[in-house]
């Protein structure tokens, strides 16, 4: 019997794939713990035997699924891996490989310079094209990423803060407002992206229907570069506001009411109360929230891929979506060596930003110092 593609055979088949994996992991973890504990306490005789034992499964998972891929990514930047040379790099060699060496500095130099420059006959003739159009160059994408991140974070913060301030009063229906405003956060990202893409459709989407109903001119949202960027930014703002609202509201509710009462007795106006009590006391929440949001937004890939796909004419790509499109998406050149180099450069930009920001603001200090 088959129902909507699901049959007994399909179920059995999946269980046959998944079952051994789960059993392997659980049995493996238990055996590993016992073995390692004996090893650490009897052979190495360290006083930290227990914590190291407890840590081992997580560490092994981290090494296998995080550190190994990252190291491999760096290695890829030193390779000439692309679709035509995939066989060369495969552990099961299929033969017929034309490369004389697999990894080398010459490849790395080419991969990294390709990100920035276009080179012909050993001379730089301009910025390198990361995608198909001549506009998709590194400085353009970097500026667009910065514009995207700052616009989003500013709107997320101000709208979220504003809503939290409104909800922090004595006001009716607080629970209802809160439940409704949090909804965008609860919807799966794919559905958010795909639905908004449909709703920005020039003919059938509700955005244009609303605009025409109110007497405006319909906008071809997804065909005009500027409008498409506005549309995709709007979607991401819509998506990010609940996080801030919840964070800020939680923070505000933990500020004792006495502070405000004391300030009122001293004749403080609402603006002073906000600037001199609320903001300073919220700082331990605001700084990590903004830090996380900057990182998340800078790396936000799915919304752009789903809503505009980076189009029209690759004009809504930011660095990370350009990376995705270059490796797998619209402009797929399958040059994985180049893409790996590109990803390392993006990471370095973010890393430098994070270090500077954290050091200057004391941002994530609370998080890791406990």
């Amino acid at each position: 019997m088959e129902l909507s593609g699901l049959s007994g055979e399909v179920i059995l088949n999946t269980l046959r794939q998944i079952g051994p994996l789960i059993i392997f992991v659980i049995v493996g973890v238990v055996l590993l713990e016992f073995g390692l504990y004996l090893f650490f306490s009897r052979v190495v005789k360290t006083k930290h035997a227990l914590p190291y034992t407890l840590l081992a499964p997580a560490l092994i998972a981290l090494i296998l699924f995080m550190i190994y891929p990252l190291v491999f990514n760096v290695l890829l930047a030193f390779s000439d891996l692309k679709r035509s040379t995939f066989g060369c790099y495969s552990p099961i060699s299929t033969g017929g490989c034309e490369l004389d060496h697999l990894y080398g500095f010459d490849y790395a130099i080419k991969n990294f310079t390709d990100v920035f420059f276009r080179i012909r006959n050993g001379e730089i003739i301009g910025w390198g094209r990361l995608l198909r159009t001549a506009d998709s160059t590194f400085p353009v994408l970097l500026l667009r990423s910065i514009l995207w991140t700052t616009t989003n974070v500013i709107f997320h913060f101000s709208i979220g803060m504003g809503l939290a301030l409104l909800m922090n009063q004595k006001i009716r229906f607080k629970g209802l407002y809160r439940a409704l405003i949090v909804i965008p956060w609860a919807i799966p990202g794919v559905i958010v992206g795909l639905t908004w893409r449909q709703e920005f459709h020039a003919q059938y989407g509700f955005v244009n229907a609303l605009i025409t109903a109110l007497g405006g001119q319909p906008v071809s949202w997804l065909d005009d570069p500027a409008a498409a960027f506005v549309a995709v930014t709007f979607v991401n703002i819509w998506l990010g506001v609940p996080f801030y609202m919840v964070m800020m509201l939680g923070g505000m509710q933990s500020i004792p009411a006495d502070y405000y009462e004391a300030a009122e007795i001293d004749g403080a106006n609402p603006r002073q109360k906000f600037l001199d009590i609320t903001m300073p006391l919220l700082k331990p929440i605001i700084i990590p929230a903004v830090t996380l949001d900057v990182i998340w937004t800078f790396n936000k890939l799915d919304i752009i891929v789903l809503v505009t796909g980076g189009g029209p004419q690759e004009s809504t790509n930011i660095l990370v979506s350009a990376l995705y499109n270059a490796a797998f998406g619209t402009a797929a050149t399958s040059q994985f060596g180049f893409a790996a180099a590109f990803s390392i450069i993006i990471f370095l930009i973010l890393f430098v930003f994070a270090i500077v920001w954290i050091v200057s603001s004391g941002g994530l200090k609370e998080i890791y110092e406990r």
Binding site: L3, S4, G5, L6, T14, Q17, I18, L21, I22, V25, I26, H48, L50, P51, P57, A58, A61, F65, M66, P69, F72, N73, L76, Y89, P91, L163, M167, F173, L176, Y177, L180, I183, P184, A186, I187, P188, G189, V190, I191, V192, L194, T195, Q198, E199, H201, A213, W238, V246, F298, D302, V305, Y324, A327, F328, F336, S343, L350, E366, I367, Y368
Partner: protein
């Protein structure tokens, strides 16, 4: 102001007019509100549409009680796209491409839902997603629960760099892991298999779970285990008998967050599962929306079926979930 009777309100307003100018502004707002509402109703009576009534009512509310006015409009912005999807899923096939803004479409039917089950492999997509997601969540919790405990209770050499590394993983651009994982999965010949995707998801689930759980263990006083150990428990017995049961909320939150993250994941799934033989529901719905045609109804029906359980869970337990998220990320 809320619990006064009408004459009382009138009296205080009058008193206010005499005492100071602010209530004048207040009553001015009410007049404005009434004018807006009457205007909205009049516009509808002359045939200009229901939309204007809402606009009028809203302007009225905005003038009368600005806080409520703003919160109402933002709630509408939040929820309207969701209502739209539900509305489209109920449209009859003939009216799928209508431009109407009605929430309950004329001739509403469950046709799209039936088509989704009959013409697409919807249940199979859900089954694939479910098995992948459950496996990742189980593995994440099993592996992270003891590791996070070590981070929380012991100061051992290498603890700080490891914690900083865990934090740094949150900063990695998607492509930084996507490219090597794709190449590794392709080399292991695991594209188009569920196992490949599970391995890919585990890479992000583990650091996140460790982080959240460590934050939760930090809030449990060590005295508890010490008391258990005085009573004759071994250290690990104390962990399994005292700490783990106390951490059920955190363990279920980690399970749930890993579940939700993998449940709706699109990019990695698209890269790893390239052929159409094995699909998770995000890939399936993405196929449906490829072009603007009758599939829009099926897409909407699928979205409703996938989103509603998550949404209900979220609204029912939102306080709990949100406290869970902030637990590890902000309060440390």
């Amino acid at each position: 102001m809320t619990s006064k009777t009408a004459p009382q309100t009138l009296l205080t307003t009058l008193q206010g007019v005499i005492d100071n100018p602010r209530p004048v502004y207040d009553s001015g707002r009410r007049i404005g509100a009434v004018v807006c509402i009457i205007g909205g109703v009049l516009l509808t009576l002359t045939g200009s549409g229901v939309g204007f009534v809402f606009l009028g009512l809203w302007l009225g509310l905005l003038l009368w009680k600005p806080s409520h006015g703003i919160l109402v409009i933002y709630s509408v912005i939040s929820i309207y796209p969701v209502l739209r999807v539900i509305s489209i899923s109920l449209r009859p096939t003939s009216g799928l491409l209508s431009r109407s803004l009605d929430i309950i479409p004329p001739g509403a039917s469950f046709n799209s839902f039936i088509q989704l089950f009959q013409e697409e492999q919807f249940l199979r997509w859900i089954w694939n997603s479910l098995t992948i997601t459950l496996t990742v969540s189980v593995i994440g919790v099993v592996i992270a629960s003891t590791g996070a405990y070590a981070f929380s209770r012991w100061r051992f050499p290498g603890r700080r760099p490891l914690l900083i590394f865990l934090l740094t993983t949150q900063m990695l651009p998607a492509g930084m892991l996507l490219i090597p994982i794709f190449v590794i999965v392709a080399q292991l010949n695991l594209t188009n298999s569920l196992v490949g995707l599970i391995l890919a998801y585990t890479s992000t689930a583990v650091p996140f779970s460790v982080w959240i759980l460590k934050g939760y263990y930090d809030t449990i006083p060590p005295d508890l285990e010490e008391a258990a150990m005085v009573d004759g428990c071994q250290r690990m017995e104390a962990f399994y008998r005292v700490i783990l049961p106390l951490s059920t909320p955190a363990l279920s939150i980690v399970f749930l967050f890993n579940f939700l993250a993998a449940w709706a994941e699109f990019i990695v799934a698209k890269v790893v599962l390239q052929a159409n033989t094995v699909m998770t529901w995000p890939l399936g719905l993405n196929e449906l929306i490829g072009t603007f045609n009758t599939d829009w109804g099926k897409y909407a029906a699928g979205s409703v079926l996938v989103t509603l359980p998550v949404l209900l869970l979220f609204m029912w337990q939102s306080k709990y979930l949100i406290s869970g998220l902030t637990l590890g990320s902000v309060k440390g």
